[in-house]
């Protein structure tokens, strides 16, 4: 990523300042995302506290296999992303593109699995308000409402992340003399890892409530 050519935005004095500003900016943005998702986790915590049994009963109806498979897919995509960022820092264009492509493929796999899972959830009547499964307690609706909102918002962020990474791939492939800064790839990576971190909490909180063998 030619650090030798100057594509410094005119408000910055030099490249290190730009790099630090952009990275710090991304971390600030991630902090806002933590608080955004955090509100949902707060609502979850309060209602889990009040309605634990309903939550446990409802959680059993989530598909642990889909959930676990998706966890592994997402964590692996984080690895490929980190490897891509590494390649970018070592100015290895081709490897960067390869790893980013791999990340996008894994991200799409995550969404595909999610699609199958959502389909199954709908046919199992786990959508509150849409002929909700009568065997589940009333407050199980709150659980599933949270399930759909939290996983849906997460999936939206996955899609956005894939868009950002694809844009990076596009920029890298059509370089024609305009360098792509390693820190741009790095910041895309930060966003992707954040998406992974949200899932780290969603997984146990949604799939594993009250599951004794």
């Amino acid at each position: 990523m030619a650090e030798r050519t100057t594509t410094i935005a005119k408000q910055f004095e030099d490249l290190p300042q730009q790099r630090e500003a952009v990275t710090l900016g991304m971390w600030t943005f991630l902090a806002t995302e933590v608080l955004f998702f955090g509100g949902l986790f707060l609502v979850y915590s309060v209602y889990r506290h009040f309605y634990f049994n309903a939550f446990a009963a409802a959680s059993k109806h989530t598909d642990v296999v889909y959930g676990t498979v998706n966890s592994v897919i997402l964590i692996t995509s984080s690895l490929t992303m980190a490897l891509g960022v590494r390649a970018a820092k070592l100015i290895q264009y081709r490897n960067t593109i390869r790893f980013l492509l791999l990340t996008v493929c894994l991200g799409l796999a995550f969404l595909a699995v999610k699609g199958f899972e959502y389909h199954k959830d709908i046919t199992d009547r786990l959508v509150p308000g849409l002929d909700f499964n009568p065997d589940l307690p009333l407050h199980g609706q709150i659980f599933f409402w949270l399930y759909w909102t939290m996983t849906g918002l997460h999936a939206l962020h996955v899609i956005i992340g894939l868009g950002v990474i694809s844009t990076m791939i596009g920029l890298l492939s059509r370089r024609n003399g305009r360098p792509v800064h390693a820190h741009s790839i790095e910041n895309a990576g930060l966003y992707w890892h954040f998406v992974d971190i949200v899932w780290i909490y969603l997984y146990p909180l949604l799939y594993l409530v009250g599951r004794h063998s």
Binding site: Q11, F12, L24, T32, I142, T149
Partner: protein
């Protein structure tokens, strides 16, 4: 007619150059125009309310309409006027100038912020056109999420979108201040306005996302009705209040901190004196931002929140008043033995100090659990927050607009008219809102369009005051606009003020400084008191 030098205003005149600008100065002006639009609508709603309240009977508007009026007033004043006012107008214009930078860290993001603000405002305005919302600006559930028949979702969508604009503004300022200060500009040489903007930005960035998710949840509840906030289905309406006030209390500090920053700039200038206790004021800004996150439960003392939590919140609310008090003491100490002159910015600022103290002290009344039980939901609360928001914040905004008007427009406003308006505003304000403290204490509830006859005399006083207050706002609008064409041209530093923004032309060139300044002295390096006092050019009028 001398040719005007190239500056950020006359570089390009096309609409496109304004709508696609990434120049922070132009973006600040775009915000100014937009917030003015919303201010007028919100003020008009308030005018109708005060008119209705002249008589005890509900005879001007129906109760439904009245509910919509106070909702429009609250929503537009809070989110579309107060929160963007100083940060997005003066902050955008001044932050890069004050730190010696060419622009903010992310200029395109800055423009995006404005577009998000406009888009959000459009949806909100559209909701009003369609018939408005009657929940109050606080959108309490389950009324907002289940029972109200008004256009809650669209208005919430508007606020949601505008919220992202303010998050991006805060992000921009944090990075700009952190990373783009001119050489030699260490943290403790920064103008206190920058410290205030930094503290404000911390709140913008950390609190606003919670508002976003809260509105999202309320909207989803409204559309799909699952029971997150509906007690009939197992939800807890108080949870909504926790989420809402976690943002909305820090939001009031978003609104007042920038105003305090303006005061900290103006007082040294018009006392010709170093600010007293620079570090105390700087750290107080950060303290307000941090402690401000710990007190939200004081809006919920009578909501069925745990009384033990209430005690904790009450204690914390007392604590948060301390840094504000420290600032007032330091401002006063700066005035002491200063060479004080009473130009309009200074008049507004002196008004701010008095009115903010009243507002702040009454806040302590409200933070006291036993008192709050009595006055919660009454006009006492209304008076308290208007003393801070209007007596404090709007007054500071007027002060700032006047102080930096020469820098922004290159023109001087007519000083006598400005001084007159400042006094009118002060009188009108007090007449409007002081009777409301009495009303609240005597038991008149807020958000009602009819009331017991014994309250009438105070309501009449209040409405009379509101008329005078309106004049106090109208006059600056007129003479400031007049000055754009007819005011005398301002030179680089008409106030002989300290600060980097005064070391470049009025109006500044697009790139702000001809060369990057290097800072070698402390902030507010006003010369020690001498016999001569600099006077600004005396304009005609």
């Amino acid at each position: 007619m001398t040719a005007e030098p190239q500056n950020y205003l006359n570089g390009e005149y096309t609409i496109k150059s304004w709508l696609l600008t990434t120049d922070h100065k132009r973006i600040g002006l775009l915000y100014l125009l937009t917030i003015l639009f919303f201010f007028v609508i919100a003020a008009f709603a308030a005018g109708l309310m005060r008119l209705e309240l002249l008589t005890p009977q509900g005879d001007l508007v129906s109760s439904d309409t009245y509910n919509k009026l106070f909702t429009i007033h609250g929503v537009m004043m809070v989110w579309f006027f107060l929160i963007p006012s100083i940060p997005s107008v003066l902050g955008n214009f001044l932050v890069p100038l004050m730190i010696g930078a060419r622009d903010v860290a992310f200029p395109r993001l800055n423009l995006l912020s404005w577009y998000l603000f406009v888009l959000g405002g459009f949806f909100t305005f559209h909701a009003v056109i369609l018939g408005g919302v009657d929940t109050g600006w606080t959108f309490y559930t389950p009324y907002s999420s289940t029972y109200s028949n008004s256009h809650v979702t669209e208005m919430a969508l508007g606020i949601f979108i505008a919220g992202f604009g303010s998050i991006l503004t805060g992000l921009n300022f944090i990075i700009t201040i952190q990373k783009m200060r001119a050489p030699g500009l260490t943290w403790f040489r920064l103008p206190l306005f920058i410290w205030s903007m930094f503290a404000t930005s911390i709140i913008l960035v950390l609190a606003t996302p919670v508002l976003a998710i809260t509105l999202l949840l309320m909207g989803v509840e409204r559309i799909w009705g699952i029971g997150i906030f509906n007690p009939k289905l197992g939800g807890d309406p108080v949870l909504f209040q926790h989420l809402f006030w976690f943002y909305s209390h820090p939001a009031v500090y978003i609104m007042i901190l920038p105003g305090m920053g303006v005061v900290s700039e103006i007082i040294p200038c018009f006392s010709r004196k170093q600010i007293f206790g620079y570090k105390f004021v700087a750290f107080s800004s950060v303290a307000i931002a941090v402690i401000g996150f710990l007190v939200w439960g004081h809006h919920m003392f009578v909501s069925s929140q745990s009384i033990y939590a209430g005690m904790a919140f009450s204690l914390l609310s007392f604590l948060v008043s301390i840094p504000s008090a420290i600032k007032v003491f330091n401002w006063t100490a700066t005035l002491y033995r200063g060479s004080i002159s009473f130009e309009a910015p200074m008049l507004y600022v002196l008004g701010f100090i008095g009115l903010f103290v009243v507002g702040g002290l009454t806040g302590l009344f409200l933070a006291t659990l036993a008192v709050d039980v009595h006055v919660h939901g009454t006009y006492f609360v209304v008076a308290h927050f208007h003393y801070i928001m209007v007596g404090g914040m709007v007054t500071a905004f007027m002060a700032g607009i006047h102080f930096w008007w020469p820098k922004i427009t290159g023109r001087l406003y007519p000083e006598k008219w400005a001084q007159f308006s400042a006094i009118i505003l002060f009188i009108g304000f007090n007449l409007t809102f002081f009777p409301q403290f009495v009303l609240g204490y005597l038991g008149m509830p807020r958000r009602v369009h009819e009331y017991a006859p014994e309250f009438q005399v105070y309501n009449v006083l209040s409405t009379a005051g509101a008329t005078i207050l309106g004049v106090g706002y109208l006059l600056p609008l007129i003479y400031l606009l007049w000055s754009l064409k007819n005011g005398p041209r301002a030179d680089q530093n008409p106030w002989q003020a300290a600060g980097l923004e005064w070391k470049t032309a009025s109006p500044p060139p697009e790139h702000n400084f001809e060369e990057t300044p290097v800072i070698t002295e402390e902030a507010y390096a006003y010369p020690p008191l001498t016999s001569s006092q600099p006077t600004p050019e005396e304009p005609h009028g």
